[in-house]
Amino acid sequence: MSRPVAYLNARLVDPASGYDGPGAVIVTEGVVADIAYAPDFGRLSADIEVIDAGGALLIPGLIDIRVKTGEPGAEPKETLKSAALAAAAGGVTTIVVQPDTNPVMDEPSVVDFILRRARDIELVNVYPAGAATKGGLGERMAEIGLMHEAGCLYVTDADRPIVDSKVLRRVLSYAKAFGVPVAHRPADPWLSAGAVASEGEFAARMGLPSVPAIAERIMLERDLALVELTGAPFIVDQVTTGAALESLKRGLDRGLPVTATTSINHLSFNEIDIGDYRTFCKVDPPLRSEGDRQAVIDAVASGLIQVIVSAHAPAPAEDKRLPYDEAAPGAVGLQTLLAALLSFHHDGRIPLIDLIRTVTSAPAKLLGLQAGRIARGAPADLVICDLNAPVVIQADKLISKSKNSPFDGRRLQGKVLRTVVDGRTVYAI
């Protein structure tokens, strides 16, 4: 039996309970045993190890529901272990890995493989998202029930939209019976074909094949109509345009069971950041106009978008050091997610507790996880973070095996001091 640990003298922010104030927590046997809404508990029994947070932020560990690693199939990019180490350093205690691996995670044995590997690595919580269709090809339903039984949290074909409306309808109806949410990328495949940038003046000048922002709304409108038809719980995999937000708002106003996500990349960068063909800024969906970025930030502030993801997608130098249209899309983000997120607090755009909610209690509620809150009996997944400490992101110093971070060189504020998973310290400085 491990010694109980008391984390004292913190600013405790717990979006699930709405609390933001002085706080202290005692962790026993991997769960939160006691909470004081004061700097300390008064007298503590002598067998409790004391960690003084020194006034730093104490928040639930982050839950990132859209993470790619290279395992299985592309381990030189990233392994589950390197991703877990990056997550721990970034204050992310739960990751949901995407199914577009090799082999595709479209049946229970691959789900089982991921869970076994995660148990062996014993760093952060790792859950798989299963493929919605066999091979992620958008044609025939994958074994959604068996994968759910094996431990997958939701199903998705990741970056690839399910073009055939009949297939998505069946996936939605079928998954609903198991209570499994379906995530889907809103991108009209025909308008998006071959595009590597968002349509507009910038892409036109740079001579980059581009997709109009409206392609996102077109697919989202169809998806929302199918959600209305089936009543199935649905995750919009990254809303990145103002046009799609209008559709989202109408859908939510009608009471559809929809949760929208966006990525930290689309909140932090716009198309101009591509500059002289910087492939680290090549992500999927492509970076949008500044108007779209502002609309997405507002949508997070208003609660229209509830969950923020890192969209962690490792790509090694050899896949990025190519002409823009040939380079692999994606950006690593696990380690920079929290600091990047906090910039909206420092800018006065979004209250701190609302920001933290998008990466803790909101994704926990969406996926039925016990984590994501600081409450008695909840898993002791905690992060201590110096809210104001300046950091300069240096891509080559990141823990991920791939260093493709668009945040390279960015000055941010917010430094993770300690990450705790199930009561175990998995990262500390």
């Binding site: 507009g200 740079m206 980059l208 050899e318 190519l322 002409p323 823009y324 249209d325």
Partner: protein, 324 residues
């Protein structure tokens, strides 16, 4: 014998400040004016029997064409040879690149051979810029995807300046597939910098959506678009785009956007017609117009191409000399 005009320009103190020649947007008016003056001198040289100088003596010029282009490649090759450089032509398509070597690997390999000037054409926008970041020599963009083709813009400006004596105030209509055209992008940037009045003409499917924000007028009716224009610059079309993709058919395209005598009558009386070549006769341009030397500058453009490239190579090499 160096022609006197060329000697005068070569003795100017102005030196080209850039290491690479990647984009028309990198240049300013003074730099372009000097390049044009220099190119003018080279035109005279090229018309002599003794065409060879030693301005690039000892220098190695590598032509690295990932996309085939006989005309641009030979234009650079002649330009380099007339200036006394050693010229090597590489066609990576048929060699290492097909074995999975990346652009950067190829560049690094070639860089190790110590070229002084690397002329690159590649199907991807931004490829020349990427390459310039990885090599020690000067890089000339000879066309990168749908982005830019700055030496083409320079030779077009030279042709126009020689034909009209000026570029400022010139009314220029750029017609056809602007969307996919690197020639159009470089020309728009350079002509606007030099004070020309630029219009774009084409079907909506071939004009970039944000084109109005480029400070150009956009026309979908060709007669209106070229009305009063002094230069009508036709762009090359890829025929596979004319089969119901970007336009319904070649014959429909020619009917509405092909340049023939009848449409050309809407332009200014002293209009000149340009085309970067190679032409699709009967699709974007009627032979009758293309071959009429009283209106067509198309042959001039080819001649100006060698001179303009000589000007670029000389300027870059001078900058390399200064670096020493």
């Amino acid at each position: 014998m160096t022609p006197p005009g060329l000697n005068e320009v070569l003795q100017r103190t102005f030196s080209f400040p850039k290491k690479h020649f990647l984009s028309a947007t990198d240049l300013n008016e003074v730099e372009v004016a000097n390049l044009l003056d220099l190119a003018d001198g080279f035109v005279s040289l090229n018309r002599q029997t003794a065409k060879k100088l030693d301005l690039l003596k000892g220098r190695t010029l590598m032509n690295l064409f990932f996309e085939n282009s006989t005309r641009t490649q030979s234009s650079f090759e002649l330009a380099g040879k007339r200036l006394g450089a050693d010229v090597v032509n590489m066609s990576p398509r048929s060699s290492a690149m097909s074995k999975g070597e990346t652009l950067i690997d190829t560049a690094v390999t070639l860089n190790a051979m110590q070229p002084d000037l690397l002329v690159v054409r590649h199907a991807s926008s931004g490829a020349a810029s990427l390459l310039s970041q990885k090599v020690g020599c000067s890089v000339v963009n000879a066309g990168d995807g749908q982005h830019e083709h700055p030496t083409q813009a320079l030779l077009d400006a030279l042709s126009m300046r020689r034909a009209f004596g000026r570029i400022a105030g010139l009314k220029v209509a750029i017609c056809g597939d602007v969307l996919h055209s690197r020639v159009a992008r470089s020309n728009i940037a350079m002509l606007q910098m030099l004070g020309a009045n630029v219009r774009l003409v084409g079907p909506p499917t071939l004009i970039p959506v944000a084109a109005e924000r480029w400070n150009v007028e956009v026309f979908h009716d060709m007669r209106e678009g070229i009305a009063g224009c002094e230069v009508v610059m036709m762009l090359r079309l890829q025929l596979e785009r004319m089969d119901g993709v970007m336009a319904p058919s070649q014959r429909e395209y020619f009917r509405f956007y092909g340049l023939d005598r009848e449409k050309l009558a809407c332009a200014a009386p002293h209009v000149r017609v340009m085309h970067p070549g190679p032409m699709n006769r009967g699709v974007e341009i009627d032979s009758e117009v293309a071959d009429d030397l009283s209106v067509s500058l198309i042959q001039d453009q080819v001649e100006m191409g060698v001179a303009a490239r000589m000007a670029v190579l000389t300027s870059l090499a001078a900058r390399l000399d200064n670096d020493r």
